[in-house]
Symmetry: C2
Subunit: 285 residues, 2 copies
């Protein structure tokens, strides 16, 4: 069980490289893959790239963002490394883990499960602790002390909650069509009931709309893009709830609503440059 | 059997729309899908967009380019509609059609087969005749008299051969990692033997390197991008042969070799803007 990451693929893009790695994760108890996009090599060999974590949505792996977003163009320009982890443990063969597309495999919800059956589902610790330590140890060209975080849908939920609970670890956050109030929507209720049981105080620890009232000393503005033709907008995403909570607690939020756009990567790729630029500013590039 | 195209999906991107259509193709004798990317609506309702055909490579459908290339950004800026057809007939259940990834389904090679078994494989006529007529009839917002053509690998072969044989129909051509001399490489020899039989004169009609000697009054420069770390470069793609032929027959060619790049869409997305810009110039935008 190799905890050091092994490179399993490499492709040049916009002067840098998409590289995919495999490693054994002690946190999750299984093998995991992740992608890094390394910007073009800088002139100084001691230069270190700041990092932007991207958390993907339901059903995704570490590949979707790398294949579909086109984020590498701006990441190359700004000199930001992109880190794309997978969305859940895989290959553990927990009974029922692949029965639905919105729970289990591909649907880790970036939390630490407390229910015994799902004890390996610890994507919060994997993203916040294991992965940054692994990067710091194995990739001297990355400066993991300069980090920001972003994501889509379930991954937008992950980015917002992880950011709000770790304001010391991330310089900025942004999200596309995030699940901002999971305790109030069917996706979140299903996942939280199974992963966390019936303890409601626990649920609120993983709900961005609840967290803004607890961690409201947010230094940099939160950027959220949302398509108005997103079929999940009204039942699952509920950006209005987060908007209200931010207003109430003086948390700076830029919520942009885009007529005609849906929930897909076509929407993400249209506005990803603005997000990279938002993070570049916070990372002082 | 509906020959008129029916819209089966629509997603907004860079202000315009990716739309997928299905129709029955009399040329191929089966149902076909294709994608159009429509740039943002112009201020004048009578405005018509010029079109750029994109021909995809082995194993691809009409989706790969739309999902992975990021070409919509520049197409949106320049106001060019992108037309992405599929790469072969599908669903005909010809014996052996799906036995290999480089022949049959997903591998039409943009020719008209002469061998009875593959009589439905008429992608040349589909791309050059049926599809433009269908677009002209059903999409008044397109100006199919202003057309250019591009493609990747097998689709680069398709773009170059179709352009050289129809200099009156297309304003410009470009290609990524094209199969420029199929009669001299294993992919081409396998396909041509099966689709065209042993008649070598017929083979030369679908070989870009042979065609430049016949149709050498090329008005606009041919643009080809090729990655130097492309694993198919030496055995299958043979750009040097085309380069020599162009030089000999005074055909203007810009062949750019890119160190480190492979055969993937990561390579395409890195340089696609240059291609869109090349075609925009020829289309006088």
């Amino acid at each position: 069980m190799e905890t050091k990451p092994t490179e399993i693929s490499s492709s040049k893009m916009f002067g840098g490289y998409n590289k995919r790695y495999k490693h054994f994760s002690p946190t999750l108890g299984c093998s995991m893959t992740f992608h890094i996009y390394f910007p073009p090599s800088p002139s100084s060999p001691s230069h270190k790239f700041p990092v932007l974590y991207w958390l993907s949505g339901l059903t995704c792996s570490d590949e979707n963002f790398i294949i579909k977003s086109g984020a590498q163009r701006a990441a190359s320009n700004f000199g930001i490394a992109l880190i794309a982890p997978d969305t859940s443990p895989r290959g553990l063969n927990v009974e029922g883990e692949a029965d639905s597309w919105d729970f289990g495999v591909g649907a880790g919800f970036y939390l630490n499960a407390t229910q015994d059956k799902w004890k390996n589902w610890r994507m919060y610790d994997y993203v916040v602790k294991e992965l940054p330590a692994l990067l710091a140890e194995n990739f001297p060209q990355l400066d993991t002390s300069k980090a920001s975080i972003s994501g889509h849908s379930m991954g937008g939920h992950g980015a917002l909650t992880i950011y709000l609970k770790n304001l010391d670890k991330y310089k900025s956050v942004s999200a596309f069509a995030p699940i901002v109030n999971p305790i109030k929507c069917p996706w979140g209720q299903k996942a939280f009931t199974n992963y966390l049981g019936e303890n409601n105080a626990e649920w609120e620890e993983y709900d961005a709309t609840c967290l803004v009232s607890k961690f409201n000393n947010v230094p940099s503005s939160i950027l959220i893009d949302q398509g108005e033709d997103d079929k999940f907008l009204k039942d699952q995403l509920l950006p209005g709830n987060f908007h209200e909570a931010c207003k109430k607690h003086n948390v700076p939020l830029l919520l942009r609503l885009h007529p005609g756009y849906d929930h897909s990567y076509y929407f993400i790729s249209t506005f990803i440059d603005d997000h990279i630029s938002h993070h570049a500013q916070a990372l002082s590039l």
